[in-house]
Symmetry: D2
Subunit: 381 residues, 4 copies
């Protein structure tokens, strides 16, 4: 531990995700003492020097940059972490790969599959470690779901359903664009809830249940115009406020997905449920430390959904934290991903989801948006 090797991080973008990632880097070695590497917060990059310095001071980054190209050019940066709006992921990632940097990229990977392809080509050509921050894979309960499925406990899968429901854009007076609101501007975000929220649902689904083959989708924009922060004028809203789709998985199961920012009463309700021949699983981000499990093999008179409090040491990642009954929270998913990334650097194994893994979600999102546009079923990829 005293002789952990440093891994110098260069963070680009210091918004909400900049905070979650920074916390991951700073916490990881306290709880994963066996790691061979220790992240060093070498530099953070933002467009405004003053605000960037403020962030650097708070989180103890050693230096700042205001041009991401300079950050990438620095010899003392081992890994570049991309936390900028979606429309700059491709350009930065490709440049970073060419500069031989490891890359940790926020989700979604790109604006569209074409960008994604170029990013994959770049990292694979450069042979650099790469991963995409689909952090919900590393909620202990979700990792446990993966384990249960891989153990064959569910048997043949019949149904997968997921939704991601929020309610923060119902107010018509909320503006679009700029700072914290770039997610409402399709130019910066690529799409609305599809890339922001459904991408999470799709990533988890593909990980747990395999490929999606075809989709039928609908999207809706409930508020048609909002004041744009950059122009100061009312502008058409270009994102999808809500999106739902039907799909088939390659394993023959049926899927149902929905996402919206107009579901009054839900702050960030991401849920999924998987129904198998022998057992079923469901999970809910609002109580992320629990996994619901139903096992048909139980004696019929005492058979029921079990609420598993995922805080025991034999559950994924939970030997690192406290004692049974004491829950962890949202931010720990990022600590886990940093830990897994550092292990992958040590072993040379990929850290899932790689850019290539994440491209599958990109393709599904693309098919979803295309299906909604054309009102046709669309094949994926």
């Amino acid at each position: 531990m005293p002789n952990q090797k440093p891994l110098n991080i260069g963070l680009i973008g210091y918004g909400f995700m900049g905070r979650t990632h920074s916390n991951g880097y700073k916490r990881v070695n306290d709880f994963f003492p066996e790691l061979a590497y220790r992240p060093v917060l070498k530099a953070v990059c933002g467009r405004t020097a003053e605000k960037t310095q403020e962030f650097a001071d708070q989180w103890q980054y050693e230096s700042i940059e205001t041009d991401w190209r300079k950050l990438i050019a620095r010899d003392d940066i081992d890994a570049v972490d991309i936390c900028t709006p979606n429309n700059s992921h491709a350009e930065i990632a490709i440049a970073a790969a060419e500069a031989g940097k490891m890359i940790l990229c926020e989700k979604p990977l790109a604006l569209n599959p074409e960008e994604g392809e170029r990013m994959i080509a770049a990292v694979e050509k450069a042979g650099v470690a790469n991963t995409v921050w689909y952090n919900y894979r590393r909620v202990p309960a979700v990792s446990l779901a993966k384990q249960l499925i891989d153990e064959g406990r569910l048997g043949r899968i019949f149904h997968y359903r997921a939704n991601f429901l929020q309610d923060w854009t119902i107010n018509e007076d909320l503006p679009q664009g700029g700072a914290a609101l770039w997610r409402l501007d399709a130019k910066a975000a690529g799409s609305g809830v599809t890339g922001d929220l459904l991408a999470h649902c799709i990533d988890t689904a593909v990980w747990l249940n395999g490929s999606i083959t075809d989709v039928s989708a609908m999207t809706e924009t409930f508020v048609k115009e909002r004041m744009h922060n950059e122009t100061g004028k009312m502008e058409p809203v270009t994102i999808d406020d809500a999106c739902a789709f039907l799909c088939h998985f390659g394993n023959g199961s049926l899927g149902l997905f929905e996402s919206t920012r107009y579901a009054r009463g839900h702050k960030a309700l991401y849920t999924f449920e998987i129904n198998g021949e022998h057992a079923s699983i469901r999970w809910d981000l609002h109580d992320l430390h629990r996994l619901e499990y139903f096992d048909h093999a139980d004696d019929s008179i005492v058979r029921g959904w079990r609420s598993v409090h995922c805080t025991d040491g034999d559950m994924p990642y939970m030997d690192k934290w406290w004692v049974p009954g004491l829950q962890i929270g949202y931010e720990h998913t990022f600590v886990h991903q940093v830990a897994d990334f550092l292990k992958s650097v040590e072993t040379g194994e990929p850290c899932n989801p790689t850019f290539r893994d994440a491209q599958e979600t990109q393709q599904v999102c693309d098919a979803v948006l295309e299906s909604a546009r054309t009102r046709q079923w669309k094949n994926v990829g």
Copy 2:
């Protein structure tokens, strides 16, 4: 009360629904003493005399018939209650209307909209009272949801989602057809989960949220062949085991519906959720005495989903039963529908859903099945 007028019931079919309806007739005056009519269990009709007599003895029907045409021809029958498989609803109902009988018909109304039209024409020409047993409208919590929506508490509606999940047909050895299993035979049932389960979801949705305009659906038959009880041979399964669809409502909200008999862990989980501008509602048949309610107008620090235990006297129907905290169950929905039907006989007002009301569900089901067949969006009606 001693001078209530008799209303003579002739029940056709004595399966599961025959029991729920009979119970409704026998219980109603004990709890709704103000009613002007008292149902009299005049006759029950079934194909097998012995079994029909056994049912009559148990439930105290005064007589039996083995030919429904004879039952309809009897002068001492005021109202005919149709509890037979779906493929005989139309023929019986039209004959009963022509005989001037009131009609209470099990859901779904018919095998298809064409049959439905003929049934509507018949009852309207005859001018006879008619209703369809979409009993879930009369769960107190569901009636309360209707009241809250009609009071405008939700404001503009953005989303409606519903599902009806069961798991009783996962076993491949379960045969199809005959007695209790006619629901697995498309010839008798018309369709699978669409007419059996989704019809309930659609009826409630249309009642609460207005018309559905267009749908995109998928269906699946997971087990392709089952032994048929009538032929004793393996036969192709002709019903839909699962069905899901996207839709738009006339009020601009988006809908998402799903039903299956392959959702391990769910016995009869019918849930719906409605998200409005100001408030949201959700309900679950497995805990039918509760309504979940979220009101955005609550103080933000104590805002959350409320679990309303629908057992107080100021909630729909609940002044008739016990005291706050003491729940009623499934069977009471039928008592309520009988009560409302008797009131409608007294006042001459229709008892919802009438055949005409129920036809809308028929049309949606038809569009759903057609959309699934053609993989196209379909308009309703």
Copy 3:
């Protein structure tokens, strides 16, 4: 079934319990067709002829009486059902026993153990069938709990905790005494929540977990004076508004009980939980169709409390009702007790809890009230 033997019921008191029992008598043969007896609503007795007749008309009792002694004297009455306030149970029951009538007595058995002893002596001397309406034993989930314990699934028991929480007397303007409010008058009720609510908790506990040996209790009367309906004046409140006690069971486990009518937010929340070496159970009257079950033998990674929806045919009483997933409610507990009583009449076996069984609860209540008065631990019996 056509040849079931009549069992003529004479009901004394037609308040809330008069309704629940009458419903039990009228429903039982529809759902328990195998019974040899059919209850006949022969007579109901109340002090006011007009109101009694109104009740008789609604529930179809054949006749009325206004003097319970006359009812007991009638030759055409087989069984007397006592639904009067607690302070008349003993007198009526003893007279009924002496008249050779079977007796179904509302709980609590008596005002105190001394009365209880005399009642037991009377029924045992007369050799008449007798039972006390501790109806919660016959909630299917509670009967299932009994079965699980008897099967040894819990192992050694460490803890039993129960509470019965209501909030209907918080309002200081609520009067005491008379009609529906005799429960607030110690002269009529004997005690407050102890006899009314804790008696239920104690009955279930003794049935499930065996005898209670000693108790330490506290009681409180939060509102000291209320207008008395009979005098029209403010009078001291003589009942216990709240009562809690610690206890030991004979099996070495610890007990904790609480009851109140001042628990804002709880209408009629009766819950219990039992912690055993191998498994635990909990139940809640507000969702009476569910039993929570925890089994330590489950694989540790999928171990959790199971929510068992008690609606399957292999659970106690549930083969009599509907299909899995469709819940029954409060009133069914009385139907079940009538069914069991009728079976006991047929077989000559006692129908639990008999007067003698119910006396144990009486003794615990007595020790609880005495402990509260003296602020000392008290032995039971």
Copy 4:
């Protein structure tokens, strides 16, 4: 922020609590950037040099000590954090106070009230900042409960009930004493669940609902002998495995408390519920990010328990973390207490609970144990 003043921490004991506190020190400035002080992990003290060094390496303490007297004597230590077994709190704290150090002491404050008095005298004489780690006060939902009560939303309080249920000592083969098991040895711990678990319940209760005046308690030791890790022999178990008590609060409300390590199915279930005239509150450590709230002023038809997801920025501490819907966990309570302690150092105001505040819990625990021994009601203090 760059110019935060260092506050040098000397940690004594590096067990479970040593980890939670260290994490608090390391995280606090990332999330509370406005603080004037920054904790510096100057030294950790343990009896075994090797293990202490291992902990120091993992958590990045600058140095180690193996004699707590040496740690206290160091000039470069500003604050001493006591995480040793309970039987050394008094000696260390008094010495630290005499050395002029600030003190953060793990709970319970002491083995008994006499020790507590001496500790209070020492810190007050020395005029040093002091606090006790009753961390559950700083769960956002619990702090919110305090706020709601202080705002008068509950009105007159009638009932307070709390329990802390675990199941980790049911196995008879679990030894007592030594390392992680000193909690099972009364010599080291003072008592069993009373000081370990009930102390938490009492601290919260006194904070939320005011003083407890008198108690009636029972304790039990279910497993009478366990192998002692230090002697290698079977020895009598000297702690209380379970403890329950009744009490009165100074405000006239009734209290009911229970704790055990034999409640199968509960890992660390700390719950409390408060019933007031107007509103009620309940909370559960297993879902610590939720507060249940019932407001009688709600419209009766939509009145129910609200499940408040305590993740919004207007709730206590939650402006420091993520966005609505994203929960924090157990460890954050310690971060909050460090933040509040640092603020108190800055302002000179006490950081609750001080030693004096925590003494009240000590007195209640003492009365509880004495009441259990004597089977008498005991006054507190």
